[in-house]
Amino acid sequence: MSVIVEGLVRRFGATAALDGVSLSIREGEFAALLGPSGSGKTTLLRVLAGLEPQEAGRVAIAGREMAGVPARERGIGVVFQNYALFRHMSVFDNIAFGLSVQPRGRRPDRAETAARVRELLRLTQIPELERRWPDQLSGGQRQRVALARALAIQPKLLLLDEPFGALDALVRREVRRWLRGLHERLGITTILVTHDQEEAMELADRVAVMDRGRIAQFDAPAAILDSPATPFVAGFVGEAARLEGAVGGGVLRFGQAALPPLAVSLPDGPALAFIRPWDLLAEPAAEAADQGRVRQVRPGSQAQPRVIVDLPGGVALDAMARPGVPLERGQPCRLRLLSAQVFGADGRRENAFPSDAQAERDETGLPRGAAGPGRLPLRSG
């Protein structure tokens, strides 16, 4: 079932939770609404479910206008953030609820209901929980019950509101894979609300990044990472650090001695650069006033650990250590910038790389002072 949202507005008092949201989701697609808390993603989900009225704009689901259609007539499956299981009903009754409230003519009889519930229990891999009560279940089990309950009404659209929030990291990863598999199997159009970019990127076909009540970008995960549409998206996804700089004559400088300049084709003026940890290589260097210093070595891959580097001027950046070149806490180091997303004064974005001049200088390593022991020459490009 396709979902079309146009110019949706929803205000709470003076603040607009949704400030003109437009979105078009294809049938069978798995879409994620990604954004920080307060960006309006849950409000959007609630408007789609019919739990929240809209002030302006339109919502059409499978071609049907949804204005004025109450939640109970929408036939949309919703998995709520805290699952909202009926606490006084057994797991079986929870799942059967959607069937038992159907009008008399359409309501399945007891045997049919039981068969459907058991089928859903099997699908969600929790047949042993049939007779249990919600307060006897773990977070992961509750989530599966909530999902089975939502699927019982055979929805054409499934809305998931932070469904992994209450799960611990290990379970979360496993449930994520399973959920994606289930989606492939059932083919139900699914919208997931999350503030966790890893989750959104792994699960969704397309991710809508939300920023203060608007959709900042709606694209495939790779496209969002590779070509973020706005500085907000660039800063929100990919753990990028945000650095201010100035463009002059096709070169971006950071006013930060320890960071090399980048070649850009942006107009002169202020610019914003977003640097991801894996675009920044840290390597040992000799002691110098303008040198960075390793603040912390994060456990990660043995071959290429991640480090946090303090730069003079109070800036701290996440970087990767050069493979095979160990760094220690407190050690002076220099940074090599491989690429960055740069937004110019005119709002244009560019994927910027080190200028040739710098590449050459790197080869000799001269302007940076004496090279430390174990420093490897780097071929740029």
Partner: protein, 297 residues
């Protein structure tokens, strides 16, 4: 022992003090009522209760409770449901109104109805012209009782409803349930024990109310007397045996209510752990405090 905990002997002392106070102020007077009622023997007490005016008072008390408790159950439930599950202008005002009878003296509540419905009251002439009697009759007793007992159901279910939020109702709505189905199958079962406790409290107060009912009743023996009023009349006429017997009966009704309520809480505590448990325990404390006035009689 952690830092926030008082020493064991201190806690024991506090508990002992509380129990002693309870025994002295609550249990002892109650025991005295029963002792006094049975002092001249079972037969005397039985005779005093079977006296026609007393029987009429008992009947009147039961009728008033039978009318006002269901009305206030529905009304209180509706008020609590509105306040807990919906946002609307005037919500705070409604909350204040619900609590009003708890803060206004019952005598004033009674007086208000006399001022409105009495012969000299605003609606008095209009009512009299149509032969409708409110004051010094059953309708007045019911109105006064309704006013005084309104908060009990609402106040016992409201905290629980607010604590539970709207999530389950919303889930039910997305699953296709109608408003009535949601109320009947989700909201009501979630609060059933608290609701029953509230109803019992309401009933205890409805049977035990003295002040408001006293003003509107007119104390017409055999007609508009309720049990508490009858106790006073008998006492003022130096019929101590009769007064004690009726008082004991009334106290017994209160005790039965209390026991029923504790049993209900036991039942609910056994099935519902965690989230619902805490409010229910709080309810026990709060409602225990509310019950005290009725049990003393």
């Amino acid at each position: 022992m952690n830092a926030t905990e008082d020493p064991r002997w201190f806690r024991a002392l506090l508990a002992l003090l509380a129990i002693l106070t309870g025994l002295l102020l609550l249990a002892l007077p109650l025991a005295a009522v029963f002792a006094e009622a049975l002092r001249r023997g079972w037969d005397v007490a039985r005779a005093a209760i079977l006296e026609p005016d007393t029987l009429a008072a008992i009947r009147m008390t039961l009728i008033v409770a039978a009318i006002s408790v269901p009305l206030n159950t529905v009304g209180g439930l509706a008020a609590a449901w509105c306040i807990a599950k919906h946002d609307f202008p005037g919500k705070r005002l409604l909350l204040v109104l619900v609590e009003l009878p708890l803060s206004v003296s019952p005598v004033i509540a009674g007086l208000v109805f006399v001022l409105v419905f009495g012969l000299q009251g605003w609606l008095g002439p209009w009512l009299q012209a149509r032969g409708i009697q409110v004051i010094f009759a059953l309708p007045g007793l019911v109105l006064a009782t309704l006013f005084v007992t309104f908060p009990f159901v609402a106040r016992t279910v409201l905290p629980l409803m607010q604590d539970q939020g709207r999530a389950e109702e919303e889930a039910a709505a997305t699953l296709g349930a109608s408003g009535w189905q949601i109320f009947q199958r989700v909201t009501l079962p979630n609060i059933r024990w608290a609701l029953l406790a509230g109803v019992l409290l309401c009933n205890a107060r409805a049977m035990g109310e003295f002040g408001a009912v006293s003003v509107v009743s007119g104390h017409i023996r055999g007609q508009t007397n309720t049990m508490p009023l009858h106790v006073e009349i008998l006492y003022n006429e130096y019929q101590f045996a009769g007064a004690a017997a009726v008082a004991a009966l009334l106290a017994l009704l209160g005790l039965v209510t209390l026991v029923a309520k504790s049993v209900l809480e036991r039942l609910s505590g056994r099935r519902v752990s965690g989230a619902e448990g805490a409010p229910m325990r709080m309810l026990t404390v709060v409602s225990g405090g509310l019950l005290l006035p009725f049990v003393q009689v």
